[in-house]
């Protein structure tokens, strides 16, 4: 500190403003910014002038207009007679987000299992995992989607002779007609018990960590947690008199009636995206684990930790630091690849909004702009979350 003070006292020689590197830097930055802003403004103005000159309608007035076409899967109440293009956008967005979210979870689970299997000491397990990775990684995703879609469609029976899955409903080439849970009056108590279980569990794990730090005594956090999160709601569920009934689909007509439908496009796309991305995640996981020096394991063994705790407490936390950044980009890939849905009629954002809505309104600039910004938004949110998580597990240097 003292040294710095001295240097400031001496002061710098006076220089002309034009030669001051700080001011020069600012001037260049501002000029660059001005050029960029100018380019964007000119580009946008040029676009609107040309649209007007060619008599092409522009603006966002279409968003409130009635869409008037049907969508095969909607998580929102969507009525083709009354819903607007704004609603179409929301339906498409939710369909994209739902496939991406479930896809990311499945791909992560598959990927971790296969990645660890790649390092197995068992020859068969290791070879199967290697073949999986090589086969899935080296075939284009669009082909995966077509194989799952047309392959699965051809195997599934016609609705007239649907496969009866018993408690799981009916399966045919119109989709999986699952029983629809209909919560009764007291069901909210079960939900509340679940939330309470999680909160209490978090408290206990904090407390036990603290106690272990101080006294070295351990507490069976995992078992208690499972009991609280699943056991408590189950007890509440039983004592409130099983307040949940299932509406079963009934075969008949063109398609089974009742229940809830999971369309084959959703299943095919989900399977294709998650199995394909899992192959990449497996390689990332393998690389992450191999990146942890063997000395770490040996040191941990020397300290008396058994294999389980060594993996859980020493290897995986260090491997995660290597795994997470590339894992984030796989999540982003999966989300963006979900737009291939358009090939198999899954009603995602690109298909219903960037496809049908674009064609009915003809407003390509607005609709494609919105679609692009939406994907950008989803991707930025995903990577913001992953960066936050990465910061949490990153090596804290002392």
């Amino acid at each position: 500190m003292a040294l710095q003070d001295v240097s400031q006292d001496v002061g710098q020689p006076k220089v002309a403003i034009f030669n001051d590197p700080k001011i020069r830097g600012w001037v260049y930055q501002i000029l660059l910014l001005a050029v960029i802003v100018y380019l964007v403004v000119v580009g946008v103005q040029n676009m609107f002038a040309n649209l007007a000159a060619q008599n092409i309608a522009s603006g966002f007035g279409f968003m409130g207009r009635n869409a008037g076409f049907a969508i095969s899967q909607s998580l929102l109440p969507y009525d083709q007679a009354a819903s607007s293009y704004g609603k179409v956008y929301m339906v498409g967005l939710l369909n994209t987000v739902s496939i991406a979210f479930i896809g990311v979870i499945l791909a992560t689970v598959f990927g971790f299992v296969i990645g660890i299997a790649r390092l197995s000491n068992n020859f068969v397990v290791r070879s199967v995992a290697t073949v999986y990775v090589e086969v899935f990684r080296n075939i284009p995703l669009l082909l995966h989607i077509f194989i799952w879609y047309f392959g699965v469609l051809r195997l599934l029976p016609h609705p007239r002779d649907s496969a009866d899955l018993g408690l799981l409903g009916l399966l045919n080439n119109r989709g999986w007609f699952a029983p629809k849970p209909i919560p009764q009056e007291l069901f909210f108590l079960t939900g509340a018990a679940f939330v309470i279980g999680i909160v209490v569990m978090l408290g206990i794990s904090n407390w036990s960590r603290k106690r272990q730090m101080e006294t070295g005594q351990q507490f069976p956090v995992f078992l208690t947690g499972m009991g609280l999160i699943f056991g408590l709601p189950f007890l509440v569920f039983v004592f409130t008199g099983l307040p949940l009934i299932f509406e079963y689909p009934v075969a008949g007509g063109f398609r089974p009636k009742g229940g809830m439908t999971i369309i084959p496009e959703f299943m095919a796309l989900l399977l294709a995206l998650s199995t394909y991305t899992a192959a990449f995640i497996a390689e990332i996981v393998r690389a992450g684990i191999l990146a942890v020096d063997k000395g770490q394991t040996e040191a941990s063994h020397a300290l008396g930790l058994r294999n389980g705790p060594t993996l859980r407490l020493v290897v995986i936390p260090q491997a995660m630091r290597v795994i997470i950044p590339p894992l984030t980009s796989q999540y982003l890939n999966l989300t963006k690849n979900s737009s291939l849905a358009v090939a198999i009629a899954y009603p995602d954002l690109v298909s219903v909004f960037g496809g049908t809505a674009l064609n009915q309104t003809g407003q390509a600039v607005e609709i494609l702009g919105m679609t692009m910004l939406t994907y950008l938004g989803i991707s930025l949110l995903t990577s913001a979350f992953m960066n936050w998580y990465n910061a949490r597990v990153a090596l804290v240097e002392r």
Partner: protein
């Protein structure tokens, strides 16, 4: 440094100004390029379909060839751009194609809001339904609850919605981007019904594993006037497109065919003389050779010839003339006179 930045700004300004609208005179562009860039479908037998060697045939393709014959006197001076339903209008707006001849339905919103002009109707169509024979369905009114496959970005999606709503029926819509995938999904049993323009149903039926096992239901639920489209604001090019079609209709009406056009040229009928350019200066008025119609008929044929060659009763599609007959035979095709 300052000079560099200045030149960058000037450069972008010039760029911004020069990236103006697509040139208004399409005919000049076409002549300069030496060929007509024609937007067609990605494969619809009878209308625009490429064979294994990349040779395009079909009613819509013949129209492109007729335009090339009118402009250049050579029907082969056409380049084809296969477009999906979704891409077609943007491709025309941006100038990627000079004319869109791709079984496109003429609707008011398309004609007014897209900066495009529909010219003529070279095929009067209507939307229909195709189902499997073994379902024993003989009317579209029995389709409540059915799964329906179609293309995205077409008028068919809206027509189905209207029809089912009007008849208080339910349905599930499965919309694909490409026609080939619609066919594959319908063939694989994903849908009970395939809906598109009736001509398209006859054409796509040929691609199914067992075409004989499917029937087209009698109902037509919409008006689908199909025809070539051009950009707005170029009346000369619009006239060339219009009159190419009218010339083919007039030729049929006057009995002029590709086989007898040379003979007819030396006849006495003034209508034929005006059409074939031995009397009057009609071609010059739209900026092309006076023999434009002669070339169209000589190289491509009259309307009846292209209809029968591509979709008529002797082709696999086996579509009868129906409403596409000449007005003098009770149909809707009516060529304005060359006079």
């Amino acid at each position: 440094m300052t000079r560099k930045i200045l030149s960058a700004i000037v450069g972008t300004a010039v760029l911004g100004l020069s990236a103006g609208t697509v040139s208004a005179a399409t005919l000049d562009d076409v002549k300069a390029k030496g060929s007509v860039q024609c937007g067609v479908s990605q494969g619809l037998p009878g209308f625009s379909n490429a064979d294994q060697d990349g040779n395009w045939t079909g009613l819509d393709v013949d129209f492109c060839r007729a335009v090339a014959a009118a402009v250049f006197g050579d029907a082969s001076k056409v380049k084809y751009t296969p477009l999906s339903a979704k891409e077609r209008f943007t491709a025309l707006q941006s100038g990627d194609v000079d004319v869109l001849s791709r079984n496109t339905t003429w609707t008011m919103s398309r004609d007014t809001a897209l900066g495009l002009n529909f010219s003529v109707v070279n095929y009067y169509d209507g939307q229909g339904f195709m189902v499997r024979k073994d379902m024993n369905i003989n009317s579209a009114l029995n389709l409540s609850g059915a799964s329906i496959c179609t293309n995205t970005g077409t008028t068919t999606e809206l027509n189905v919605a209207d029809y089912f709503r009007a008849n208080k029926m339910e349905y599930e819509l499965v919309a694909f981007e490409k026609a080939d995938e619609v066919v594959a999904a319908y063939d694989a049993g994903r849908c009970d019904v395939y809906t598109t323009d009736q001509s398209g149903l006859y054409a796509q039926r040929l691609k199914l594993t067992d075409p004989g096992a499917h029937i087209v239901l009698p109902e037509i639920i919409s008006k689908e006037p199909l025809g070539p489209v051009v950009r707005q604001g170029d009346d000369q090019w619009l006239n060339i497109i219009k009159w190419t079609h009218f010339a083919m209709l007039n030729a049929e009406e006057l009995g002029v065919t590709s086989a007898n056009v040379d003979e007819m040229k030396n006849g006495d009928n003034p209508s034929i003389k005006r059409l074939l350019g031995t009397e009057g200066e009609f071609g010059g008025a739209i900026g092309i050779s006076n023999e434009w119609a002669y070339n169209v008929i000589k190289e491509v044929g009259n309307y009846a010839e292209t209809f029968n060659r591509n979709v008529g009763p002797d082709t696999p599609l086996a579509i009868s003339r129906g409403v596409n007959a000449l007005w003098s035979n009770g149909g809707l095709q009516y060529g304005a006179p060359v006079r």
